[in-house]
């Protein structure tokens, strides 16, 4: 078949990405909602210790942006699942498209969103500190010293974690689109694994430890990027099994 203008893959992807960045604004507003919610949760502190004797009592409260980061990771997962749903996928048919370009633009969109999410999650820790200093009555504020390189590495690490979760979410979402019964089966499988592993938590600990216990940033980056590539690649393969406009 002949066309007047041959649509190049990268142009289609670029156009779709631009469209998605404008059209899926709900993704970013929900990110803000989740982070604001997480900051509010964090105001209560992530831990405390206390004690009392006849003449002296003490209370030490610990604050950090951990809750914001964890909830942002969950946001990344859920956002990726939502992108695979029918309502979002059909948007791509406004363009000259195929399943690969649609998926690739989705993946780029997720990566851009995750970068923004990681930056805002880390910046929100400053907002949390300013709020605690302004509204929490204490005798002393103690700050663990963090150098700029340390902070930057932490920010990139956060972004990589969010990308990892969104890659996982994208694959899970694709599976659920293949067969609707997986919407029920996957959570059941996940929950039963979690419950069954409570006595033998090695599997989950090993998975968490594979990323979480890695102290070398370069090795961690390699692990997350390779895992994300594998997960996104698997999503592309799974997506290929879908019917047109399924």
């Amino acid at each position: 078949m002949m066309y007047l203008a041959e649509a190049r893959m990268q142009d289609v992807v670029k156009k779709q990405l631009q469209f998605k960045l404008k059209a899926y604004r709900g993704v970013f507003t929900s990110l803000i909602a989740v982070q604001v919610l997480a900051i509010l949760f964090s105001l209560g502190g992530i831990g405390m210790s206390g004690g009392e004797t006849e003449n002296f009592s003490y209370e030490a409260n610990y604050y950090s942006g951990n809750i914001v980061i964890v909830l942002t990771m969950l946001w990344g997962f859920i956002t990726a699942v939502l992108l695979t749903t029918r309502a979002y996928r059909f948007d791509d048919f406004s363009f000259v498209t195929n399943r690969v370009s649609s998926n690739v633009s989705n993946i780029y969109f997720l990566i851009v969103s995750c970068i923004l999410a990681g930056i805002t999650a880390m910046l929100s820790s400053f907002l949390l500190k300013v709020l605690v200093i302004s509204f929490v009555n204490t005798d002393a504020f103690v700050q663990a010293s963090v150098s700029f390189p340390e902070y930057s590495t932490g920010m990139i690490g956060t972004i990589l974690y969010i990308i990892l979760f969104s890659a996982l979410g994208y694959l899970v979402g694709m599976f659920t689109q293949i067969h609707k019964s997986l919407i029920v089966l996957l959570p059941v499988l996940l929950l039963s694994t979690l419950i069954l592993s409570t006595g033998h938590p090695e599997l989950i600990q090993n998975i968490i430890g594979f990323f979480g216990n890695e102290n070398s940033f370069l090795v961690f980056a390699l692990k997350t990027i390779i895992t994300a590539v594998v997960l996104f690649g698997a999503s592309l393969l799974v997506s290929g099994r879908m019917e047109v406009k399924q």
Binding site: V34, T53, V146
Partner: protein, 229 residues
């Protein structure tokens, strides 16, 4: 517990996203979104600027301790009390003496009074020393470490009221200390060199004591533990 927390977090994020999207959809809110993004970005960048413009004394510069240092300090303080009780006060580090008094008796009697129960005031240890009617009193204040931070300066020495032959230890107000500790985010801690040294321990030996040197021959009335008798 971790599983339940994760599930709750998961459910709250899904509910948050769903309610938020439903709200935005129901009221067809589109234009203000630009303002929401902009506003959030300004708040975040503003908070970074405010944070770096905070006065230097906002954060405490008190000495901070690692787990190992806290445990060592607790051992030192237990040892200190044991040495004092066994009459080896000369082996105790002078750094624990935070206040000293000297008092001259009119005759050979000393009455020590303190609020009941006396432990709400302070323990009084004493030894016999000299014959010149002068009483020397040292206050040994223990370290209080809360969430890594030395807050010992918050605990003042007891107030003593001196009469002709009397010393009254005034009841101390209870000291309440609150410390807010900003920890590193786990993604920062994971790649930090000193990740193992961050501690969450607190230590507070409540064994402050007054150590009195009372002249030989002075008759003492009141709650004093003589270490050499």
């Amino acid at each position: 517990m971790i599983i339940i927390s994760l599930l709750l977090a998961f459910i709250s994020v899904i509910a948050g996203i769903y309610i938020f999207n439903a709200f935005m959809g129901k009221y067809h809110i589109k234009k203000p979104l630009k303002w929401i993004f902009g506003g959030y970005a300004i708040i975040l960048i503003g908070s970074v600027l405010i944070y770096f413009m905070l006065p230097e004394d906002t954060f405490t510069h008190a000495k901070t301790y690692s787990d190992e240092e806290i445990m060592q300090e607790e051992k030192n303080q237990e040892e200190l009390y044991r040495l004092a009780l066994n009459g080896k006060i000369d082996q105790v580090d002078d750094k624990y003496i935070t206040q000293q008094w000297e008092f001259e008796l009119k005759d050979d009697r000393l009455v020590l009074t303190a609020p009941e129960p006396q432990h709400s005031a302070v323990t009084v240890l004493a030894e016999r020393a000299g014959t010149d009617k002068k009483i020397k009193i040292d206050y040994y204040g223990m370290k209080r470490i809360v969430g890594n931070v030395d807050v010992s300066s918050k605990v003042k020495a007891p107030e003593l009221e001196f009469g002709e032959n009397t010393i009254h230890i005034r009841k101390r107000e209870k000291v309440n200390v609150k410390v807010a500790n900003f920890s590193k985010e786990f993604t920062v801690k994971q790649f930090s060199d000193g990740k193992k040294s961050e501690s969450r321990m607190s230590a507070m030996m409540d064994q402050d004591f007054l150590y009195m040197q009372i002249p030989v021959g002075v008759e003492v009335t009141g709650g004093v533990i003589f270490i050499d008798e």
